[in-house]
Symmetry: C2
Subunit: 438 residues, 2 copies
């Protein structure tokens, strides 16, 4: 399917890691961007569907570099609690009841929310990964998926086999829309020997790693106590950071030396500003990481820890808190944040050929309306996108050149069915936890 | 006009400064809430318009306790700059060209944005206050308005007279929709003798004060250098905090002793989390202020310093950054934030009879949809409102019992006209600044 998106304000690469605005047209052919340029010119032999984007910004799709999509069934379930109590007292007892059906519809709810908010790719770690992959494909999104591996759990060995099977089963997609990685949950839930086996398997399969890292002060203290090393140093010494892509979620409590390792090893850091604040984990050194050349993208974490799964807010929260903490308005300016939310995130999760409007890139493109009161007037479109835009401004979403959202409505699925099924299954989950307690 | 809002999830007062959810009906008569209770009962002699709010939350309108509404014409005009450069190099040169026409339409744009986002009352400090009052009345919003007073400016004396005239001119509204206050800009732009004259005039007129206070570290340092006192102590000693209501915007850099003064004097603190972060001013001790019993509301400041004028994001940003900085997930929970965004703000700006769904209160009420993906499922409606909701979820807005927004559309004004006029005047302003530079 060929598409010509016409007359929009194109957000295109400027110099290294920056962006600029160019009024023009964007041509998509076979899932790829083939032309970005002046208005009114159509490539030869090209009879595309024409989409009017006048009065809109046209930009790369947003990337959610870390989430647990199925957790949307637990949105608002256990707020205002610290991470370990939240996990042990609320989340794990509920997760024990998650079935394949919960995972299909819970993930559907998140994919719906993410697509409508302009996210075209997400990186996930959770359970029942076949269901996650299936619904992601059904609704037309791109994803990097992993089964969460808890080294201490009874099924830890079988989960390595399951991960290998998943990688094989989902590797035959010619469009490379779904990729599988290995998902060792965290250094405090996976012992060194297990992590070494994970690294060996990842190398054998040729897949990347997705892992929580340096999320809380307690984790740092415990790792130092057990291994005499901080978390990033620990997994680096175990050989994990040499695997590509290595997605490290959170990295809240990292030293200058660890930031150097993250940069040198091209680790993709998923910065989860809202989750880290909301769970009281802390505030990551985002400005320092970006300043040191770390590949940073933004992640929503699960809806149960953030409330919503929106990269607009993650980007803004990430930038604002740094400006406030450092008392420095000039750090992390609009264009740099938009870069991290798009191209930065794509690189962090391993899609080096996505996240920017250039010929040859995957056609993950969103059209954002500029006509609401909060987007008026238009002195600076990059500023508006960074500081004023929200999920409701997203009009159209293309993933791999195919429409996933049009005029704010999901193209390939029934929104009401997804919301209703997810609500029923969430109520069912709550009932089961209460029966356990009863 | 009588209205019965039926079958919604009513957000009602619980214990002191907390809220809870009650399914039921809300009755409005002559601008006042007359009944909040079980479904299906209508007060005697009451033939209201009936509004179906099933599947929606019904809550008090949000309060914007500090803004410069006309600055919407400068949205995105000068981002990523520190406060004093932002003011001196960008904002003041543009403001020099603001005419009454700019102010009418710039304020209209903000009122439109605020109403659609569920804000029913705002407190403003800016220029051409007659225009601000007129458009606020035209579009059906409630406001506390002040002319910004710069003691050092040539027109400082005349501006005191103008303020007195404004107070007289707008005091005849039987519904008390528009109130005038005195707006001494800040302790660093108004010398002590001028502030004393402001205090005297306020007392004489029986009006309150609206002032920027303790916004930056530089301000604290300068006040200490000049007067040997921190800013709050300084204005307290000048007798300003004894005037009610005294709206102190920002209060970023305040000591424990100053927090005590703010609490004891019942000062309304307008916490502007996003503006303070974005301009690099710092992060106010919100948790400590609320913990000490200070009357805190949330303020958006101007669109030029925040990007958007939305209390949902202000509330969230304010709470999240405290949880993150203190590494404490339990502080400032959902219900407390919703209280500050509604009742807290109303008290801070001096409308003690607004901001809560109880019989006898002013009928400033909003209906918020719960059917979008990001509001599904509904384990906890207070959590959803605090952490997941946004401006686009606001369906209906009533101010003083009259509909100002219905089904997301402005009732008393033409949205396109407002956006178009504001965009034209913003372009005109920019052109004039360029001519100055040229």
């Amino acid at each position: 399917m060929d598409v010509q998106i016409e007359g929009g304000e194109l957000i295109v690469p400027h110099s290294d890691r920056l962006l600029t605005v160019l009024r023009g047209d964007l041509s998509i052919r076979n899932g790829e961007i083939v032309r970005v340029g002046a208005e009114g010119e159509v490539p030869p032999d090209f009879s595309p569907e024409r989409v009017d984007a006048s009065g809109c910004a046209v930009m790369p799709g947003l990337v959610n570099a870390h989430c647990h999509a199925g957790m949307s069934l637990l949105r608002g379930y256990a707020d205002d609690l610290p991470l370990m109590r939240w996990l042990a007292e609320e989340v794990w007892p509920a997760e024990a009841h998650l079935t394949a059906e919960h995972m299909y519809w819970g993930t559907a709810l998140s994919v719906l929310e993410m697509l409508k908010g302009g996210i075209t790719t997400y990186a996930d770690m959770y359970f029942h990964v076949d269901q996650v992959a299936r619904v992601t494909r059904d609704l037309g999104m791109r994803a990097v998926l992993s089964l969460g591996l808890i080294g201490e759990a009874p099924g830890a060995e079988e989960d390595l086999d399951r991960s290998a099977e998943l990688a094989e089963r989902w590797s035959d997609d010619p469009e490379d829309m779904i990729r599988i990685q290995l998902g060792p949950h965290a250094p405090y839930t996976c012992a060194p020997d297990y992590l070494e086996r994970v690294a060996g398997l990842a190398e054998e399969l040729g897949v990347g790693i997705h892992m929580h890292l340096a999320e809380t002060r307690d984790e740092v203290r415990d790792m130092e106590g057990l291994y005499g090393k901080t978390p990033v140093q620990h997994v680096h010494d175990l050989g994990l950071t040499g695997l590509r892509p290595f997605i490290a979620a959170h990295c809240v409590h990292v030293t200058a030396g660890e930031i150097e390792i993250l940069a040198e090893q091209e680790v993709g850091v998923a910065h989860c500003a809202i989750s880290n604040q909301k769970l009281g984990s802390g505030i990551a050194p985002l400005a320092e990481m970006i300043g040191s050349g770390v590949r940073v993208g933004f992640g929503t974490d699960g809806a149960c820890s953030t409330g919503s799964q929106e990269i607009w807010n993650e980007m803004r929260s990430g930038s604002l808190v740094q400006k406030g903490m450092h008392c420095d308005a000039e750090i992390l300016p609009a264009a740099q944040m938009l870069y991290s939310a798009t191209r930065g995130g794509a690189r962090a999760v391993g899609f080096a050929d996505a996240g920017q409007l250039v010929p040859g890139a995957r056609a993950d493109v969103i059209v954002v309306g500029l006509d609401s009161p909060h987007m008026t007037p238009q002195h600076d479109i990059l500023s508006l996108l960074a500081y004023s835009a929200g999920r409701e401004d997203v009009r159209d979403v293309y993933v791999q050149g195919r429409p996933a959202v049009r005029d704010g409505r999901l193209c390939r699925g029934d929104e009401s069915e997804i919301r209703n099924r997810a609500a029923e299954l969430a109520a069912d989950l709550r009932k089961k936890v209460r029966e356990d307690d009863g």
